[in-house]
Symmetry: C2
Subunit: 337 residues, 2 copies
């Protein structure tokens, strides 16, 4: 491997001079030419690891998310990626799978050095302890999508409450009074707020919230499919006419369950989702658009600012992005299935 010493020797200058050339410090044109020539001839590239050790800047950011396989996250990751790249940062992705270990892997990585900042897209109230220990480190952290409301943190989220409210309003405006709700991951602020929005709309319309019409969800297709199947069977004489799913992934599960139960959408059961995932448009699913890419972008922007003017300002920023209702056919008049 060719090092800065080799360049110095070849060019007949000191390593300091080579370093100055590399870092655009004042150097005479003559020296600079010699150094550049040597660099070119030996095909030299500075060792980034040595540089990081000395300078204590890694230009590396970790993005922690539950599961890249969940189609919600790639867009968010892309937003992060793009901004990171624009600013010369490398991105490391850590999947926690919403499991036990959780953040601990990430926390360890951070403590080992090598990471200048973190974006957490998987925070849950139950991770408080680990999150707090993270916040004690000097490493800047920004929460994206999911936040922890009981803690003072920087965050970029979408307005889940009003999205939930609007979705429920839409169902109600279409004449539905018997509305079931598929709940998302328990303990995530995202699903909590979507549910609150739903409940507020129901209350404002003076409609009943029936506990047996709350399908305990997680995040996945299967849980939702099974839950809805059960809902449709068990309450055969007194069925909801609409289902509000707090995520598209689960809404698709609900659609398939309705269909497999031999019923029609939206005639028998209307369905509204949440997220506006890519293929839902082909499935005709009415849903709430969430600016996932933008969440990623802005979170990364905020983080990089924090990294750059470290300890400048100690106030916290909480950006909340708007959502919008995307009306398609699963709660309209045209039959989908």
């Amino acid at each position: 491997m060719v090092t800065i010493k080799d360049i110095a020797r070849k060019a007949g200058v000191s390593v300091a001079t080579v370093s100055y050339v590399l870092n655009d410090r004042p150097v005479s044109d003559e020296m600079k030419a010699k150094v550049l020539k040597a660099i070119d001839e030996l095909n030299y590239v500075p060792n980034e690891i040595a540089r990081r050790l000395r300078v204590k800047k890694n230009h590396t950011i970790a993005l922690v998310l539950p599961d890249i396989t969940n189609p919600f996250y790639p867009d968010l990751a892309k937003g992060c990626q793009d901004v990171a790249k624009e600013n010369g940062f490398t991105l490391i992705m850590i999947n926690t799978e919403d499991k036990e270990e959780q953040l601990s892997g990430a926390v360890n990585q951070v403590r080992q050095g090598g990471i200048d900042g973190l974006i957490l897209a998987n925070a849950m109230e139950k991770d408080m302890a680990e999150v707090e220990s993270l916040l004690e480190t000097p490493i800047p952290v920004v929460f994206a999508h999911r936040s922890i409301e009981s803690l003072a943190v920087d965050s970029v989220t979408a307005d889940n409450y009003s999205g939930g409210y609007e979705a429920a309003r839409h169902l109600i405006a279409n004449g539905h009074e018997k509305i079931a709700f598929i709940e998302g991951l328990l303990g995530s602020t995202v699903s909590i707020n979507r549910k609150k929005g739903f409940e507020a709309a129901m209350n404002d319309a003076e409609l009943p919230l029936r506990p047996d019409w709350i399908v305990e969800g997680k995040t996945d297709y299967d849980t939702s499919y099974n839950g809805v199947m059960q809902l449709l069977n068990s309450s055969s004489n007194d069925r909801p006419t609409a289902i509000f799913s707090s995520s598209d992934l689960m809404a698709v599960g609900a659609m398939d369950a309705v269909k497999d139960a031999g019923m029609f959408i939206p005639d028998d059961v209307a369905i509204i989702g949440y997220d506006d995932l890519f293929m839902t448009s082909s499935l005709q699913l009415t849903t709430v658009h969430v600016p996932r890419y933008e969440i990623g972008r802005q979170a990364m922007q905020m983080l990089i600012e924090k990294i750059n003017d470290k300890d400048t300002n100690e106030s916290f920023q909480n950006i909340v992005l708007d959502t919008s209702l995307i009306v398609r056919n699963t709660c309209g008049s045209q039959r989908v299935y």
Copy 2:
């Protein structure tokens, strides 16, 4: 920041001893106890960057892919992630977006140090030059999904030729003789082989390959949608009865185009896709399953083996995984739209 020196001082031993404890070298129980106590009390974590500089091992692998937002890749990435994690490696993701710069970013990262190996999931024949310069470095490289057939490399791919053949056979077995083909990214081995498989099946059945029924595709929904729309309009008196799309993303575009053109699937036009992306099952799309997660896993396994027994064997491995036809309704008898 607390360093190994602080621990040595606190424990009253040399830094070497601390290092030995850290690295499980023989140390007396007495010393070990003292050191562990100091580590615990000062809450010390070794600096990974310093370690990397000295040992020249980074335990970091870069995964280069065109676009994490394309639903094909997250599963592959997850496969890589999981195996990397099992083996204590960190994963960096680089999106090239199939653009100009291409691999150059990755190549640079590699030359800077900090990366022990590369998985390329975005190789194309036209990147030969950059790929060759990569292969000249001592860094192991494994090709996943896309490979470069004219070069001796390690790779894990799916059997795109026989998948394409089987898909076309299925259409033909269902009585179709007029079959259009939506082509994937030009210059990618994946789409080349899928097309070859298609052509072989057509030839074997003595069916004509009409050039005007080849829709020039890229990878995306829109190009396909527009291409199919045009196909259906222009050849109104002599239309294909079936479309073989070389990717699901484009197949969905084709489905929507057929629908928007006021025709029915499969009655007027049958459609078969390729990839078996998640939501295609809800869309009833008949397709070819590609073991994406498994491709990622095996590629990472192969890479880590190469990293570990560097320079042991110099022969190349090319693993080709099986695909399987997933029959749903877009070429069957039951109407989808």
